[in-house]
Structure formats: structure tokens, C-alpha cells
């Protein structure tokens, strides 16, 4: 069973954080098909957030086909992300390390790198949601 | 609401019960010597209207023997006020003072029902306790009542139906005072003042006139007062019916003493009479009913006002 955590200062909406954490768990294999997600009540009693938020996150995940809500029984993982994505991890990591070396060589410090990555990621995310 | 009333007022109810027990114990304890003296002096033979010689002295002696106890018992007239002070006044004042009305008045029970239930239950308990206290006092006072009657305030105010009526009225006053003043101590003060004032007004101005007083004209000598009557006025009038001032009376007595005549005989020869206006002892229960009725009506009116007021801004 996955445990959610909330970062109120991250600037990312709460329901998005939940979605991201579920997807991350799916990618890492922590969650598998058939596993049950925490019920709305469990998540809410633990995190002290609006039940709507959890419901919205689960709805989004259901729309993407990753989970399925079974009336009265809970929400369950329906499919993992393509295992192919796991395969690409190693390759992507190597690419990332190379890119980071390049950024360092260009004179960017840690903060600038992080800022660049997060702004670009946020713009991409916003464009996708919009 | 019964459980709620009990839980919130149980210390008051227990204290009231304790008071009753103490009263009963005191009454029982003090009663033995009184009954013993009563029989020893054969006072049953001195009951009015018999005028056995020497009865005067015997009765006076008996009364003197227990004068302090009788005086203490008169102090019980303050008991009904306690219901207003310690049960009625804190009822609303404490809730408003502590802010717990924001808890009590936002449940499913409406404010009016809450107040009506509580007041009714507490009133019932108060009336029951006061009736019991009244019965104890009546039982204790019976020798005195037979000798000197109970129409006078010293007997009337602590016996019969008026005691629970006073207590009911005091309770209602306390509740209203608590709502208006929102502070327990202030409410207690106001309750005491208004209660005392009401009692005083009824006693001085209304009770003497419940029924038209009777009059008796007697010779200007002692006597003419029947034990058991409540004498309202006892005035000396001349042959023409005009009132004689005490100054004038004193002059006449002085004159008689100078002349060596018995003052009483002298006043009779002057043609002076005494007019006594009184309420006979036989009217005791009628008067009790009337006065109790007055106070019960007042109590109900006060409660109605309180119920109407509680709907408005309490915060």
C-alpha cells in the first residue's frame, strides 16, 4: 500500500502530487496491477487534505486508464505504465548525466540547473494540462 | 432533558436534599422538649376560648421558654429565596458567563424547549422540597399555632401553601435575572431585592385586604384580642368615634394616676373604646390560597417573559 506525502510549498497542486506519486510508484514497481490504493478516507485521515482532492486525483488516474474504481470496494491499479519505460531508464539516465556535465561546464551552479529544469518541466506540464 | 437537568444541577439538588434532612432532624430533635413542656403545663386546658384563670401566665411562660427557637424558625422565611438565588439565578447566568450557551443552544433541542424543560423540572423539584419543608414547619409549630394562631406573619409566612409558591416565584425571578444580567452574582442580588420587595408589598398592602377585615369594638381595657387572629390595627377612639392619639392617651393615664384611680377604669368612664380591626384565624386557608395564587401567577408570568426574551440576542 502506497503512502502519500504532501509538499505544500512545491507549487504543484495537491491532486497533481498524488497523481505523480501514484505514477512514480507504478514506474518503480512499488505498485502492481491489482494493488489497492488508499481509500479516500484513509488518505484524508492521514494527510489532512480535502477529500475532493483525493477524489479528483483518482478520477484523473482512472481517466488515464491506470486505475479503476470499484463501487464500495475501493480503487485498484488497473495497468502499470508500459514496462518499456523502465527499459529506457538506464539510457535516459546516461543522457541526463551527460547533459548535467555539459551544464556544469557551461558555468551553471546547482541552483540554476534546478531552476532551469523545474521551469521547463512546469511549462511542459501546464501546456499538457491546459 | 431530564438527564441533562439532573447532571447539571445535581449538586444543587443534593444540597437541597441535605437542607431538608437537616431541617427534619432539627425539628425532630427540638420537638421532644416542646411536647413534654406542653403536656407538663397541661396547656391543652388553656386553649382559647377557655379563659381559665392563670392561663395567661402559663401560656406566656411556655412561649418564653421556647422563644429563641420560635424566633429561629421565623428565620426559615428566607428559605424560599434560596431557590431563586442558588438554583434560578445560575441557570442562565452561568451559561452566558462561561459561553457554554454557544454549545447548549446549537443542538437539536431549541432554546425555548431547553429552557422550558429545565425550568419545569427544577420548579417541580423546588415546589416539592418547599412543600416538604412547609409540612415539617407546620408539624413543629402546631403547639404554637394552637396557642397563638398562625394568621400573623410569623406563622403565615412559613406554613402552608405560600412556601412552595414563594419558592416557585423566587426560582422564576432568578432565571429571568440571569438572562437579563448575564452574571451570576448580579443576578442573585437582583433576585433577592425583587423577591423581598414583592413579599413586602404583598404583605403590607395586599394581604390585609384579601378579604374585608372584621372589626370589633371593646371597652378600653385589656382583652378583646382573640388568639389566632391577625390584628391589623388596634386604636383607641372616644365616645364620638374619633381616634385618640397616644399623647392624649398618655395624658389621660397620667391624670388617672395622679387622681389615684385605676387608669383602665378611668378610660372607660371617659366613654373611650378600642376598635380592633383584624383578620380572623379561620380565614387562614383562604388567605393561603389567595396569596399562593398571586405568587404562582407572578411566577408563570415571569417565566413567560423569560421564554419570550430568550429568543432574542443572548450573545
Amino acid at each position: 500500500m502506497i503512502e502519500f506525502h504532501l509538499d505544500p510549498r512545491s507549487g504543484v497542486a495537491t491532486y497533481l502530487q498524488i497523481v505523480q506519486q501514484v505514477k512514480e510508484a507504478l514506474r518503480l514497481g512499488t505498485l502492481d496491477v491489482g494493488d489497492q490504493l488508499p481509500t479516500v478516507r484513509e488518505a484524508v485521515a492521514d494527510l489532512a487534505i480535502n477529500p475532493n482532492t483525493v477524489a479528483k486525483a483518482y478520477r484523473d488516474l482512472e481517466r488515464e486508464g491506470l486505475v479503476v474504481a470499484r463501487q464500495g470496494r475501493g480503487t485498484f491499479v488497473a495497468s502499470t505504465l508500459a514496462p518499456a519505460s523502465l527499459r529506457h531508464h538506464d539510457e535516459l539516465r546516461v543522457q541526463l548525466e551527460r547533459w548535467l556535465a555539459g551544464a556544469e561546464a557551461a558555468g551553471l551552479d546547482d541552483e540554476s540547473i534546478r531552476a532551469l529544469i523545474s521551469t521547463t518541466l512546469r511549462k511542459k506540464l501546464a501546456r499538457r494540462v491546459a | 432533558m431530564a438527564w441533562v437537568t439532573w447532571r447539571q444541577h445535581r449538586s444543587q439538588l443534593v444540597a437541597g436534599l441535605g437542607l431538608l434532612v437537616a431541617l427534619a432532624a432539627a425539628a425532630l430533635g427540638t420537638d421532644l422538649p416542646i411536647r413534654a413542656a406542653y403536656h407538663r403545663d397541661a396547656l391543652s386546658g388553656c386553649l382559647p376560648p377557655s379563659a381559665r384563670s392563670g392561663c395567661d401566665i402559663i401560656v406566656k411562660h411556655f412561649q418564653g421558654e421556647f422563644a429563641s427557637w420560635a424566633a429561629a424558625v421565623r428565620g426559615l422565611a428566607v428559605l424560599p429565596a434560596l431557590a431563586g438565588l442558588f438554583v434560578g439565578a445560575p441557570l442562565l447566568a452561568r451559561e452566558l458567563e462561561h459561553g457554554t450557551h454557544r454549545f447548549a443552544w446549537t443542538q437539536s433541542v431549541t432554546r425555548r424547549r431547553w429552557l422550558l424543560s429545565k425550568t419545569s423540572l427544577l420548579a417541580a423539584a423546588t415546589v416539592a422540597a418547599a412543600s416538604l419543608a412547609s409540612a415539617i414547619v407546620m408539624w413543629w409549630r402546631s403547639p404554637f399555632d394552637t396557642l397563638e394562631g398562625r394568621m400573623g406573619p410569623s406563622g403565615f409566612d412559613i406554613e402552608g401553601l405560600v412556601v412552595p409558591a414563594y419558592a416557585f416565584y423566587a426560582l422564576a425571578l432568578g432565571v429571568l435575572a440571569g438572562l437579563l444580567l448575564r452574571r451570576t452574582v448580579a443576578a442573585m442580588t437582583l433576585t433577592l431585592v425583587v423577591f423581598a420587595a414583592t413579599r413586602l408589598v404583598v404583605l403590607e398592602f395586599l394581604r390585609p385586604r384579601f378579604l374585608a377585615p372584621l372589626h370589633r369594638t371593646v371597652l378600653a381595657s385589656d382583652g378583646g384580642r382573640q388568639a389566632g387572629d391577625w390584628v391589623l390595627s388596634d386604636t383607641l377612639v372616644d365616645a364620638g368615634g374619633r381616634r385618640i392619639t397616644t399623647g392624649h392617651e398618655d395624658l389621660a393615664v397620667l391624670h388617672a394616676q395622679h387622681a389615684g384611680i385605676d387608669p383602665h377604669t378611668y378610660l372607660i368612664t371617659l366613654g373611650w373604646k378600642r376598635v380592633i380591626s383584624y383578620q380572623p384565624g379561620g380565614r387562614f386557608w383562604t388567605f393561603q390560597l389567595i396569596e399562593a395564587g398571586i405568587f404562582v401567577t407572578l411566577a408563570v408570568a415571569v417565566i413567560a417573559v423569560t421564554l419570550w426574551c430568550v429568543r432574542r440576542n443572548p450573545t
Partner: protein
Amino acid sequence: MSRRLDGGEEAQAPASPGPGGKSGASPLEARGLGKRFRREWGLRDCTLELPRGAIVGLAGANAAGKSTLLALATGLLTPTEGTISVLGRDPLRDPAVLAEVGFVAQGAPLYRSFTVADSIEFARRTNTRSDSSIAAELLPSLGSRTKVGDLSAGDRARLALALALGKRPQLLLLDEPFAGLDPLAGREFLQLLMDGVAETSATVVIASHVIADIERVCDHIVLLAGGGVRLQGNVEALLDSHRLLMGPRRPLGSIRGVREIVRERHSGRQLTLLVTTDGPIVDPSWRVDHVALEELLLAYMAPERLPTPQPPERVPLRWHG
């Protein structure tokens, strides 16, 4: 309780109306509501309507009228002018509606001499519908024989909340529930509250002058300032319709995409505008950013509000580079 899966501001399944409640009526509605205390107006010309099933943050400074509004909603005060209706009913004329309303007043008032068990019994006896299971869950940590006066502020607050939730209310009103609570107690309170809301699907109003406390859970905001409503609306919609514009200091004309300037601040050569938008802002001379809720509310709380910018035909956009 699948209602929550529909949640948010989209179409909601109507909550089952409790006895006497009109289904479809807004849980709390006020029109021109005003309350005067002797010479001062605690609340003036307050008009609002809360959406059902929302968790509403009632924000505002200390004397803004939050407690007054809640007292009017529970019939503890009579309005001087205007109307207020709770679940479609007038709390003064129809006090039976309070059976559907849970209320925890400021300071979580309970009878101090009562034990925890007594308090639960009190709630049971004074309510037509009282589910003591929520309070019963607290018993192990509170102790049923503990006197309420001996409980910590956090425990007292949770007990009061549990009793209010036990009524299975359609509307839950909380007046400054976090005041006097340490962060852990506050978190525990919020957990109990959210759990209770997930279970009962109640509409909740949390009055607090500390925005951070309620930012975490609220999806609707009502901001009171100076006795009136300064801002109200869905949190997401408000955050979406406001932007922070930063740029070099210059005289202003109209800016495309900006509907109204809410607040203007300048320091040195930088000008910061908080604006409402009616379209995308593409002017490259401005850096556009989102606004956090707290900053948004603070801006609306400030007494100085700028006048609206001139309409585009009159004053062309000018700046000195």
C-alpha cells in the same frame, strides 16, 4: 459514500437531505446581512452563497465579522438588517434546522465539570440524531472519566468536533478551531475533521485569521474585511484568474489581458501588479507569475485598492524604456 468522487466544483450528486432540509438549497446564504452592536457594525451588507459540499475558508482579520457571521447562522444573534438562511431555513424562526448544523464555537466550549463520557451523553440527549461512534474513537486517548476542564486545548477541540460530527450535520461551522492549538494538535484536529467530512459529506465552513491553516484543505474562500465580503469564490478559479505582473516601473495604461488591477506595489525600479485577467497576457515587458492564495487574500484585505485602469480607447499604452 461515493458522493466525494464527483466532488470539486463540477456537477455534484445532491446530498441526501436530512429531515426537514430542502435538497438543493444552499447550505448558507446571506443577503445584505448586517449586525450592529451598539454603535459599531460587526457585519454590514454581507451577501454570499456557499456551494454545497465545499470546504469553505472564512478568512479575515480578527474583527472582520467572521464570528458574527457564524453566530448569526446559528441563531445566537438576530440580524439588524438583511437575511440569512441555513439549508434554506431561517435559524431564528425555524431553530429546528440546527439539528442539521454542527457548530464548534471559538474556544471549543464544553461544560468543564462534565467528564468526556458526560459530554457524549449530553450530545446524545440533546440531539435527535447522534452517532457517538466518532467520539467513541477518541475515548482511548482521552479517557472517558477525564473531566473536560482537565483536557488539553487540542483534546477539547477534537472532542467538540467529534460531538458536532456525531450529529451527522449537513453543515459544519467551525470558529477559529486552530487558535490555541500547537501544530501537532492542529494537525490531529484537521485529520479528524477531514475524515469526518469524507464520511458525512458535510459542507464545512472554517473561520480562521491564519490563512495557512486553512489553505491546505479549502476549495472555496470567503474573505471578510471591514465587516463586508471582499472576495469570494472557488480557490482554483480565483488563483487561475489572478496573476502577478512584474516589470520596470512606468506609468500605466491598459494592458491586454488585464481586467482590473487589484494592487500595485513599487520598490525602487520594480513595479509589481496583482491583476485579474480576462485573457492571456502576452506583453513581453511583463513577467507573469501565479499568485499564492495567502498573498491574494492579503492583497484584498488591504484597505487601499487601486481604481480600475482607463479603457483602451482613451489612453494608449506608453512606457519609458
